[in-house]
C-alpha cells in the first residue's frame, strides 16, 4: 500500500516536472534558427503572433497577385522569408529552410503539415547581384543534378 502511494506520488512529481520543462521549453523557444538574419531582429514584417497564425494566408494572397496580375514587391514575400530565415551551416553555406531542424520544418514537422511551397520555390537565399541576366554562381547547377530521377515526390 505504502509503496504504491510513494510510486504514485513520484509519478505525479515526475509528470509535473515533465510538464513544467516542456512548457518552459515551449515558452522560451522562438523557433528562429541561430545564424539567420531573423535572429537579430525584434519581429518579422508583422508581430510574431500574427505571423504564426496568418503567414500562410499572407503568402497565398501575395502569390495570386504576383502570378496572375504581375504585382511585385509585396509586403509579404516568400523569397524574403527565405532570405531572412535561412541559417548558415557549418560549411558557411546557407541551410535549406525545409531541412530538418531549420526554420520552416521545425514547426511544420511538429504540426505534421507539409509546406508544399518548396516543391517549386527555392529554399536558400539567392546570391544578390544576379537578379537578371546570367547566373554566374558556379554552385548553381551542381546539387540538382545529383538527385536521382523520379524518386522524391515532395
Amino acid at each position: 500500500m505504502r509503496s504504491s502511494l510513494i510510486s504514485k506520488r513520484y509519478f505525479i512529481i515526475l509528470l509535473a516536472g515533465l510538464l513544467l520543462s516542456a512548457m518552459s521549453a515551449f515558452g522560451e523557444s522562438t523557433f528562429v534558427t541561430k545564424g539567420s538574419r531573423a535572429a537579430s531582429l525584434d519581429s518579422c514584417v508583422a508581430p510574431t503572433n500574427v505571423m504564426r497564425r496568418n503567414h500562410m494566408d499572407f503568402l497565398k494572397h501575395g502569390r495570386d497577385d504576383t502570378v496572375l496580375d504581375g504585382v511585385r514587391g509585396l509586403e509579404y514575400s516568400l523569397s524574403e522569408c527565405i532570405d531572412c530565415h535561412a541559417s548558415t551551416g557549418q560549411s558557411g553555406k546557407a541551410m535549406p529552410v525545409d531541412a530538418e531542424g531549420e526554420f520552416c520544418q521545425e514547426c511544420h514537422g511538429y504540426v505534421a503539415v507539409s509546406p508544399a511551397c518548396f516543391q517549386c520555390h527555392r529554399t536558400t537565399p539567392e546570391k544578390k547581384g544576379n537578379k537578371y541576366g546570367y547566373h554566374k554562381d558556379e554552385s548553381f547547377f551542381v546539387e540538382s543534378t545529383s538527385q536521382p530521377a523520379g524518386i522524391q515526390r515532395d
Binding site: 500574427v50 497564425r53 504581375g70 504585382v71 527555392r122 547566373h135 540538382s144 530521377a149 523520379g150
Partner: protein, 250 residues
C-alpha cells in the same frame, strides 16, 4: 488545416486603427487631403492591358551554331541540363528549316508565341494556363495538375513538362516536378520595368541582334516601327491565333 472560424478578428482591429488614421489625416488642415501613409514597400502596378508584349525575330540574323539565347534563357530561369534531352526543359528551341527545292536553310529560335487566342488556355482543365492582361501566356503552377493537355494543344511545341524533383531554382522562376512550363517572356523583368528579355540581351551581346522585344500596342515603340516598316509573318498564321512573337525573313 484549421477552420477560419476560430481565428480572432483582425478586421476589427484594422478598422479601429484605420479610423484613427483617417481622423488624423482629416484634422491636419481643412480641405487638404493627405494621401495615406507612404508606401513602404516597392509594390509594382502589375500587368496592364495598355501593353501587349511581343517579339520580332529576324531569321536572317540568327547565326548558325549559336545558342546564346537558349543558354541565357536556361541560366536566367535555372533550367538545369540533366543530360536527358528528351525530357529536359527547353523554353527556347533552335529550329532549322530547309527548303527542299532550293536547299536554302533558315534558322530560328522558337518559343511560346504568346498567342492572343492561346489553345493551351482553351484546353486547360484547371485554369492554370492563362493569359495575363498584357498578353503574356503563363502557367500558374499553384493550379497546374500536370495533365499536359496544353502541351498537346500547342501548335508550336513550346511547352515542357518537369519530370524530376528539382532544387536550387531561380527566385524569379520557381519551378518543380509535375508542372508544365514555357517561356514567360521574362515576366519578372517586365514587372520590374526592365524592357529586355534574357534571350534578347544575350543575342545583342553576341552582336547578332536577331531578337527584338517590345510593346506591340505602343505605335512608337521600336518593335512597332520595325513591324510597320518590314514584312513579318506569324508561324502557322493560318490558325489565326495572332501570336505575339513574329518572324522576319522566314
Amino acid at each position: 488545416m484549421s477552420k477560419k472560424g476560430d481565428q480572432p478578428s483582425m478586421e476589427r482591429r484594422q478598422f479601429i486603427g484605420g479610423t484613427i488614421a483617417a481622423a488624423g489625416a482629416v484634422t491636419i488642415a481643412p480641405g487638404v487631403i493627405l494621401h495615406a501613409v507612404a508606401d513602404t514597400n516597392q509594390r509594382t502596378e502589375g500587368a496592364s492591358s495598355e501593353h501587349r508584349w511581343g517579339m520580332v525575330i529576324d531569321a536572317n540574323k540568327c547565326a548558325d551554331g549559336c545558342t546564346a539565347c537558349v543558354d541565357a534563357c536556361n541560366s536566367e530561369h535555372g533550367l538545369t541540363d540533366l543530360g536527358r534531352p528528351e525530357t529536359d526543359a527547353a523554353w527556347i528551341r533552335t529550329v532549322k528549316l530547309k527548303d527542299k527545292q532550293t536547299g536554302n536553310i533558315s534558322r530560328l529560335p522558337v518559343m511560346c508565341q504568346h498567342c492572343e487566342h492561346p489553345p493551351c488556355v482553351d484546353v486547360c482543365p484547371t485554369n492554370a494556363s492563362f493569359k495575363r492582361a498584357d498578353g503574356v501566356v503563363l502557367v500558374d503552377r499553384h493550379r497546374c495538375i500536370g495533365c499536359r493537355y496544353c502541351m498537346m494543344a500547342c501548335p508550336y511545341k513550346a511547352r515542357s513538362f518537369i519530370h524530376e524533383a528539382l532544387s536550387d531554382q531561380s527566385v524569379s522562376a520557381p519551378r518543380g516536378k509535375g508542372c508544365v512550363e514555357s517561356c514567360t517572356l521574362c515576366v519578372h523583368r517586365i514587372d520590374e520595368g526592365v524592357m529586355q528579355t534574357a534571350c534578347q540581351e544575350a543575342c545583342d551581346k553576341d552582336g547578332h541582334a536577331a531578337i527584338l522585344f517590345g510593346d506591340l500596342k505602343d505605335p512608337n515603340s521600336e518593335i512597332s516601327q520595325v513591324l510597320k516598316k518590314y514584312n513579318s509573318v506569324q508561324i502557322r498564321g493560318d490558325l489565326e491565333l495572332n501570336t505575339g512573337v513574329r518572324y522576319r525573313n522566314l
